[in-house]
């Protein structure tokens, strides 16, 4: 999406800056194609755990501007290279597809399949933008990336001072019948497929960017019911509610880059959910990670990330807590980026749990790109 710069002719200057809106709208239609992807080599340590190679993601970004104010933006994703009837794995899915109506810098109205603005990775997931071959495990089990739901909302800059941005969406809710002990709310996502709108939910974010660059901090939330229309779980819009609260920070200074994310998910009716669906969902799911990276030589950075999270940080009465879900994941690795939008990655992950079960070590290699 980075194209050659061109000096505008005088006519172009007038077109871009000074013509009345109506004239501008008639002349600005354009389509943009982009994409990103990642290919992984994963080798868990130990016998009988052979390595695997996978075309993890292949995503086509397609956007169209109808005029200066209205744009359609979408991402169509193929996971695991192919989808075949009867075999597991593989997915073709829309990751995003929405129409933006830009009223001003402070207000864009967005309608469609959108990304809840929770954490860092859910909204910014292009492989060159993060360290490590795979996304952080936390961004799978606690914040269920890539999380997308259908709704309507507003995004823009807060006019209070430079650097403040917000987003606020009303979207379809999660469904508690998909919640699990190991992956929390992940299985409750509806992802735009004939989604129940029994529990309209609110999600939003406020963030502050240091105007000179180098630091971005944000706070996010999600709140909504999870019945999915199952009257055994409840009849009210906000029945069996979950609340997600998260905070994150990204800091860059010279060769040093740091990021940190924390999140907590409260499942207040976990007890009812577990007895109704025979699951063992935690009543609280919580954790976070810290990551530091340093450019050791030009384009090559070394990083270390430490994640701690527990999908059963608390369990309701009647559910036995499995300490095997209290995970500590440490990842050490290298990221080589010959350009800002291509990455060659290698890392080593050590997974430990409070129970000592399900532990392991994994070597990963991968490449990623975006354009």
């Amino acid at each position: 999406m980075l194209r050659a710069v061109q000096c505008l002719t005088l006519a172009g200057v007038v077109l871009a800056t000074a013509r009345p809106v109506v004239a501008q709208e008639a002349t600005k239609e354009s389509t943009t194609i982009g994409g990103y992807g990642e290919i992984h080599y994963t080798n868990p340590r130990g016998r009988n755990t052979p390595a695997e190679v996978n075309l993890r993601r292949f995503v086509v970004y397609l956007a169209h501007s109808f005029n200066d104010r209205i744009a359609f933006r979408s991402e169509l994703e193929v996971e695991d290279a192919k989808v075949e009837g009867g075999s597991s794995g593989g997915e073709v899915a829309l990751e995003q597809a929405f129409l933006d109506y830009r009223v001003s810098d402070a207000l864009t109205v967005r309608t469609g399949l959108v990304l809840p603005p929770v954490g860092i990775i859910n909204e910014t997931h292009e492989p060159p933008s993060f360290n490590g071959v795979d996304r952080p495990a936390f961004d799978h089990d606690v914040i269920p990336t890539t999380w997308r739901e259908i709704g309507v909302g507003v995004v823009g800059r807060l006019p209070v001072a430079d650097g403040w941005n917000y987003r606020l969406y009303l979207v379809n809710g999660l469904k508690a019948n998909g919640f699990t002990d190991a992956e929390g709310i992940r299985g409750g996502r509806q992802e735009g497929r004939e989604a129940s709108f029994a529990n309209p939910s609110l999600t939003g974010r406020i963030e502050w960017v240091r105007p000179a660059g180098g630091l971005r901090v944000g706070g996010s939330f999600w709140y909504g019911g999870t019945t999915g229309g199952d009257t055994l779980l409840g009849r009210g819009t906000f029945d069996a509610p979950i609340a997600v609260l998260s905070a994150d920070a990204r800091y860059q200074r010279g060769p040093l880059a740091l990021r940190a994310v924390v999140a907590t998910v409260s499942v207040s009716d976990a007890n009812t959910i577990n007895s109704l669906y025979g699951s063992a969902v935690g009543s609280r799911i919580a954790g976070g990670y810290l990551e530091g990276a340093y450019d050791v030589v030009s384009h090559l950075s070394a990083f270390v990330r430490h994640e701690r999270y527990d999908t059963q940080a608390d369990v309701p009465a009647g559910t036995t807590r499995d300490r095997g879900f209290a995970r500590r994941v440490t990842t050490l690795g290298l990221t080589f980026k010959p350009t800002w939008n291509t990455a060659f990655k290698g890392d080593y992950t050590l997974l430990r749990t409070a129970a000592g079960t399900g532990e392991g070590e994994i070597l990963r290699l991968g490449v990623g790109y975006q354009f």
Binding site: M1, R3, Q6, T17, R73, A212
Partner: protein, 145 residues
Amino acid sequence: MMQGAPPAKVAASLRRIFGPGADASVLTVAADTVLRVARGDSLLGFAAVGNVIGKDQPITFLVAIDPADRLRDVDVLVYREPYGGEVAYDAWRRQFRGKSAADSLRVGREIRAISGATISVHAVTLGVKRVLADLTRWHQTGAIR
């Protein structure tokens, strides 16, 4: 070749950069447009408008140089995308001031990155570099004077 005055938004940007009383006239170099800025008889500098594509929309910016071919300032004239608009902040743009075409302008080194605005930062940095190089070349070869 001289022809007329620049559009209002460009003129306002030039007044901000060069101060009140700066007059701009429009020159053309082949297919490109350059603004020559002067106060009375004294030359203050040159400027040109460029466009780069961010994630999917053009970012329209202006680069101004002084008579010694040093970058005077960058202005983001129109930013159209919902994210990445931080490149318009003065605190970020000011790091380009005083740079010349021979200086290296690399994101993460001379130019600070903005987490979450990576595409815009790279696009604008590349755009500024190219317009700065064009203006410098045209000035040094006498195409603009």
